[in-house]
Symmetry: D2
Amino acid sequence: MTVRIAVAGASGYAGGEVLRLLLSHPDVEIGALTAGGNAGSPLLAHQPHLLPLADRVLEDTTVEVLAGHDVVFLALPHGKSADIAARLGDDVLVVDCGADHRLVDAWAWERWYGGEHAGHWPYGLPELPGQREKLVGTKRVAVPGCYPTVSSLALAPVVAADLVEPEVVVVAVSGTSGAGKAAKTNLLGSEVMGSLSAYGVGGTHRHTPEIVQNLSAVADRPIGVSFTPVLAPLPRGILATCSAQLRPEAQDVRAVYEKAYADEPFVHLLPEGLWPTTGAVLGSNAVQLQVAVDPDLNRLVVVAAIDNLTKGTAGAAVQCMNLALGLPETTGLSTVGVAP
Amino acid sequence: MTVRIAVAGASGYAGGEVLRLLLSHPDVEIGALTAGGNAGSPLLAHQPHLLPLADRVLEDTTVEVLAGHDVVFLALPHGKSADIAARLGDDVLVVDCGADHRLVDAWAWERWYGGEHAGHWPYGLPELPGQREKLVGTKRVAVPGCYPTVSSLALAPVVAADLVEPEVVVVAVSGTSGAGKAAKTNLLGSEVMGSLSAYGVGGTHRHTPEIVQNLSAVADRPIGVSFTPVLAPLPRGILATCSAQLRPEAQDVRAVYEKAYADEPFVHLLPEGLWPTTGAVLGSNAVQLQVAVDPDLNRLVVVAAIDNLTKGTAGAAVQCMNLALGLPETTGLSTVGVAP
Amino acid sequence: MTVRIAVAGASGYAGGEVLRLLLSHPDVEIGALTAGGNAGSPLLAHQPHLLPLADRVLEDTTVEVLAGHDVVFLALPHGKSADIAARLGDDVLVVDCGADHRLVDAWAWERWYGGEHAGHWPYGLPELPGQREKLVGTKRVAVPGCYPTVSSLALAPVVAADLVEPEVVVVAVSGTSGAGKAAKTNLLGSEVMGSLSAYGVGGTHRHTPEIVQNLSAVADRPIGVSFTPVLAPLPRGILATCSAQLRPEAQDVRAVYEKAYADEPFVHLLPEGLWPTTGAVLGSNAVQLQVAVDPDLNRLVVVAAIDNLTKGTAGAAVQCMNLALGLPETTGLSTVGVAP
Amino acid sequence: MTVRIAVAGASGYAGGEVLRLLLSHPDVEIGALTAGGNAGSPLLAHQPHLLPLADRVLEDTTVEVLAGHDVVFLALPHGKSADIAARLGDDVLVVDCGADHRLVDAWAWERWYGGEHAGHWPYGLPELPGQREKLVGTKRVAVPGCYPTVSSLALAPVVAADLVEPEVVVVAVSGTSGAGKAAKTNLLGSEVMGSLSAYGVGGTHRHTPEIVQNLSAVADRPIGVSFTPVLAPLPRGILATCSAQLRPEAQDVRAVYEKAYADEPFVHLLPEGLWPTTGAVLGSNAVQLQVAVDPDLNRLVVVAAIDNLTKGTAGAAVQCMNLALGLPETTGLSTVGVAP
């Protein structure tokens, strides 16, 4: 089977990563590549690492250009996906890397993003309990945010097993590519190299409600999430430090994680003594986890690493495409990072 | 007044930073510079940024070499300061950048560092309540650890005012110089650039008891501290994200910080809307703070930035020297960072 | 003596560095700070490292605001200085960090920058033969470009002594701050971290004619310069590798450099065996040099390091202000870098 | 066909990269993995990015362990390969990533490396004229050094066509992984981040004679090479700036490069207007080239980018294995980089 795919937003980071992965996917043929302001220019001017696509020129992002493909990946600014998706037929698999269809509650969407809620689609985090089966055969996928991916996978097992108090603290340090490719002064190399900064402090980052949604769903009751993202000087990678108060009766937390992820191809609880690094998952779809319990506080600390562009965005998109199309879930994806 | 100073451990990062600062201190004359394995080699081979000391050669770290100075800075591996300090006379001001004399409790020392406790000295964090007066005129100073400095200053005001529950969570992201200059594979540039890692997870980092000690002292009751350090790819700087559950009755937390640090020359609560970055304090003795309250959780989040080698080590050492000698506290120190 | 200074372009990197240096200059009072699009906003929003100026607000860059100061530093985009300078009186010292008044030849200006030549001012590289005396008492200074500073100082001694063939090759690796603070996609942290790129290849960088001008002047005949700049992932610093074919009769090149810079406070030929690094000059006004002769080719290779924002821009500006005002040349400047 | 391979030196950077590539090579089965001091420890402790090999333990580097494989990759310190290779049978394909068998002349070996010359093997740079055929079916491959790879490919076309004067200047900026994984103070993250340094200046780097050998061979006469390596703060990548005086009669240099590399799968002359970056080739086996002629000097400048660990070492090793075994040359290799 060869599926023909299109990528809308092919000049950005998410779109570029989708293409990087699909270039080694055996069942895919790369069709239309579209952009907004960059339409008309060669793809290579924006994605110089995609040499096999050196002859491609970016087209305008229109329904006409995108139609006629089996799969359309949308890597567009928030709020831009819903309209296009609505006009692509129900026979087209639409994988939305943006936020438009992630949140279930309309009021949450309006509070955090503003404007009308476009509705919610099957959520592309198959490793959450009960989630994989919703993705098999679907024609619409909402790819999770990068921070929700790593935070939810880090905490879901103990939250699902009701082993921790219902308030968790997540501090996630991220590389800069998660902030996108739009030129902003605060994201200049001169500003970010040699510096660390926090942003969205006090629960104001838009990924907060998505983490709350995920953890509350697996817990089947409200979970409070204190979430702070920190920007660090590297292009890719998120390292999340997630902690929660263990219930007094909680035993052998490590075994809970071992069991939860034993059959997952991409989520790896590291052997004791090794700790996740983002360098080890660079360019891969792997999630590396490690757990510890602070003996003085009986507090669980989970450290998790992903590549925000791969498992955090484009890798998840491809993984979900595989599920939606009935392909082996790991096709075209790797757990081997590029290090050092 | 000109005081004659010596630095033991002058080829390392802490010793180099002490010298960098003292080179612009108007009341200081730089005397003996000593090292361990690097003794006999030119200082410039180890500290190529200290051009005015280009003619200096490192001597052996012995009491004989260090004696005869008004002030001796010890920038030695943990456990090496106590013996030397004991043999320097009581008329010499000894400023210990190491951990030997930071912890009050002998059992805590033994648990976290091992071996016999050398006793505790006046703790060099003058911005903690009641601490400055203990440093005026002292002949012995225990310079705080870098993580305890930033964490304690971030949380002391609300802990002292009993506005938060007695368990706090600190995730502090640090540059690599805090790990020192000894050659280790995991600290190679190839390993740390492009990667993030956590270490000392689960409350196992030796700075944990020092933060507990500081916060418990200002609270006058035990404070639990969940502390996780994260290593990021930059040479200098710590950004600490510190959070705690506000008591229901807590009001106007910002005013508490404003009042606490109104007269402090080095601790700056930023105007609302600006957030600390480590780049802004690079090479300076400043602490930049900002506070937020998560409205959904009523949880306080404080973000604080320091340069781990300056306010986190050598700047504090010079600040305390000034206090001990009766000099203006800010002499030779700056709140101006080197950015970008 | 206290001189009152103004900075036009205070929200950019050059303007910020001028202010950083002047904050520790004993003879200066900081007056008006102006900007273009950033006028009206607090300086601290753009220069968060300049805490002592936290109460300052940026004004519009107009002659009215700048007038009435003893010294005006212009840190404006190329082409913007000439008009303002012409309208500031001859009694005001104007130090132009831009390119407008660097080139002597009008045709060279038109070829490389376009538009009308504004004329040339005394060139602010006092370490070039015969240059210092032109700066003493001047009311106008053209601060050199960063690449010309390091390249000219690296090669002037042997070019002046006619020890090399009249064609030199310079490859200079630079941090990103030299490209300024305007938001551009190719300067985003995500783009520059983990990557190296060349630009202005084939002699097309605008600093080429300035290096040619300097070296030809000291040689008193035309010198060809093959100049290639390379962008590397660090905020500050230029390391220039400069080479030239030695004439057969050339002897003891090292002694030529020793003699040329023996009395220069900022230019340091390192002891044999040590090589310049940009880290060692970070934030300082020092130039570090080292020389070698390739025995197989009889080719001289000079390696030189500067901080592009300090000696490469703002440090030179302050150094020239000192000369122009009759102050000691090194006032407010340092040869001590911030390392690591 | 499945070939069984072993890697000696599997805990280092070259060995790790060989394994990373072979994990996606369809014709390979990974056998013994050996190390020196790290023998006995899990591979994952040293190569945390190689999750599919998480169950492997490093064995001692002995002939007994390495024997019985179809292919043995040697990623050992210089001088350690010859003895082992001699004791592996002639039926085993030995691919030496070290320097032992690169140089043809025994005197050159002795001058640059010291000790006895182990002889030379077919040189693994198939893109050099006449080189590919020497690798087909060979049982011994000397993998080129990283700097010689990029420098030789950048200059070979014009040197072979006798279009330039016989002295070339190469300044190559490199990431730190080329310096290996042995813990050294000058390679610590704290030292290399935020700094640039030159080393091996004056033609003293051991890769100089290898570049001379390659270019002289394609020219069939001696070519002088002024080579200076520069260390920059990134883990991977080399950007080489290579220049040479064009002969007056040289015409249309670009066409020479187009023709030389038209059929090469890994060497890409970029479209005019685009310049190579190391970020674009990260983790790939691609070489990106661009050329310019300085009109004032009639000097050719070629800029070339590779990943030093991939095309510069392990990718070349796999490429040569493919040739030696009669597999398609590009098997298991990619021209798609991991960016940003």
